[in-house]
Amino acid sequence: MDTSLLLSQFLSGLSRGMVLFLIASGLSLIFGVMNILNFAHASLWLVGAYFCYSFWVLLQGYGFGMWVSIGLAALTLAAIGWVIEVVLIRRVYDRELPEQLLLTYAMVLIIGDLIKLTWGVEDRIIARPPLVEGPVFFFGIPFDSYFIFVILVGFAVAIGLWWFLQKTKYGHIVRAAVFSREMVSALGIPIPRIYTGVFVLGIFIAGLAGGVQAPVGSITLGMDMAIVVQAFCVVVIGGFGSLLGTLVGSIIVGEIYAFSILFWPQGALVLIFVVTAVVLIIRPWGLFGTPMRA
């Protein structure tokens, strides 16, 4: 097979993986720290995409409109995340797993309809600025230039998160909370504040991911449904609470998708779930996770 085709497929897999990473990293962080699996994560991601679209419509006259819209979408989602945490999530910290899952699942349904009410049912498309409109050429192969931006954002967030978790005081507290809530609260740090912070951060990244996603293609109702389960797969493959694992898992899932489209188009999604199931069976804590708090 043609190496150039493989390369272009690899890059598109990578950009797909990066969007997944942006979603899954927040999901993993929230689960790792708060022990809450947020079904609504991808729904908020989609809300981010729609907000990006709306801001872009407002700022259409300006050349920088799209770029600013992405940032504004992320900030808006951070605010929404804060409201959700304080109003809903906080009430179920001590509840059992099914109730927490149901709460976030109910949010999926509500957010889906709120999107419909706000933005209607037709697809939305953002016209990209000239810089990322056309293809770029690698070794003579055309490649969507916007994908380069997506990949860069993905790695930038990965590095930023790594820096935050490893090098800052707050990052250390968050990491400690992954291992033991008791220890953190023994240090006199109020757990709810950490939880709120982590949730807002996670939703902020999801919003950013939505903003980044918006100009990729059209923004469609229901896009979140398939993505959220794939994001679960990423987190499972990489390991809950492991940033590196989430990054690797995202790339694996993105590449599986990209390459099976090439060789076995019907099997792309089937394969992702097979890999996920195999990882869960052999290493329930994932490739890079630790088997604690099982």
């Binding site: 179920v92 099914p98 109730e99 109910a106 019907q266 999604l269 779930f273 069976i281």
Partner: protein, 321 residues
């Protein structure tokens, strides 16, 4: 059995129902029964075994496709299709369950979800066999079950028979073993029970009844689609069970009545059914943790406790061991 006189009453009401209500509501009643059976089968895993399956629709869907394919492609009569649905779903549950019961908690939930999605995409993509996303049309029940009322009675008897069987299982030593696995799997190992094997058996039985519910669905709806396997469909019995209350046998059935009735009612004048049910679920999760049945049981207990003026905290005392 004296405590269950009201069941006979419910059954009699169910028998005369089609004479009282219009055809639309007869359809709703069939849906209540089928989804209720689906939810009760789900609760064998959730309420009795203590694990949350988020992929129970896989077995419902496999059951639906087994009956659908047999009827459409081989013209097999419905009464033979239904047991075939149970067997197909049971085999599927045996294969997936073998791996699922090795995990618990969140990992169990995600693995069942992953297998559910796997099933969904297999049906979705296997165009030549399942018809892919076009689904399967023309699943016509036999003449004597063609009318809504006839199919209602057929469903009523099948579901009632299934519920009786599940009731017996839940009260059997096996059913109590499931409760002990839910309460304390470690202790259960140390009284000599192979916990994983029992969980697997239960998983398969639950899958079989989900398959039976799925088998009933196709001829009722005249068509089936891969969405029956989707994780959204898996959410339905979870809702019903949580709304109705997972700790009682009839909780999921009560949940099905509330859920399906509400859906039929709400979709009559708005398309925003997900928003409505989403708000209902949030309300139940936040304010009625034991579901409707649990809620009323609590009320009854409180009223009784007041009436009896029992000594300090005898009934409200809760200890964790």
């Amino acid at each position: 059995m004296k405590r269950y006189w009201w069941l006979g009453l419910v059954f009699i009401v169910a028998l005369i129902l089609p004479f009282v209500i219009g055809e639309f509501w007869v359809h709703v009643a069939v849906e209540i029964l089928i989804l209720g059976l689906f939810a009760v089968s789900f609760n064998m895993i959730f309420g009795y075994m203590g694990q949350l399956s988020f992929g129970h629709a896989a077995y419902y869907g496999v059951g639906a496709y087994a009956t659908g394919l047999l009827m459409v492609k081989a013209s097999v009569p419905l009464p033979i299709c239904l047991p075939a649905s149970m067997i197909a779903a049971g085999i599927c549950a045996l294969i997936f369950g073998y791996f699922c019961v090795r995990l618990t908690g969140i990992y169990f939930a995600i693995l069942t979800l992953a297998f559910g999605q796997l099933m969904y995409y297999i049906i979705f993509q296997w165009y030549s066999f399942t018809g892919g996303d076009d689904g399967l049309q023309g699943i016509i029940p036999p003449d004597f079950l063609f009318s809504a009322t006839a199919y209602y009675y057929f469903t009523l008897f099948v579901v009632a028979a299934a519920l009786i069987v599940i009731w017996y299982i839940s009260e059997s030593p096996f059913g109590y073993t499931m409760r002990t696995i839910r309460e304390n799997p470690d202790r259960t190992r140390f009284i000599g029970i192979n916990v994983k094997r029992y969980m697997l058996i239960n998983f398969v039985i639950a899958g079989m009844f989900a398959g039976l519910a799925g088998g009933l669905w196709g001829p009722f709806n005249r068509s089936i689609a891969p969405d029956l396997c989707n994780w959204h469909q898996s959410g339905t019995p979870v809702f019903m069970t949580v709304i109705g209350g997972p700790l009682g046998f009839f909780g999921p059935m009560v949940g099905s009545v509330i859920y399906t009735f509400l859906m039929a009612f709400v979709t009559g004048f708005t398309e925003y059914w997900p928003l409505t049910i989403g708000l209902v679920i949030i309300f139940v999760v936040l304010f009625m943790p034991g579901g409707v049945l649990g809620f009323f049981e609590e009320r009854v207990k409180i009223i009784r406790a007041r009436a009896l003026e029992v000594g300090a905290g005898e009934s409200s005392e809760k200890e964790n061991s």
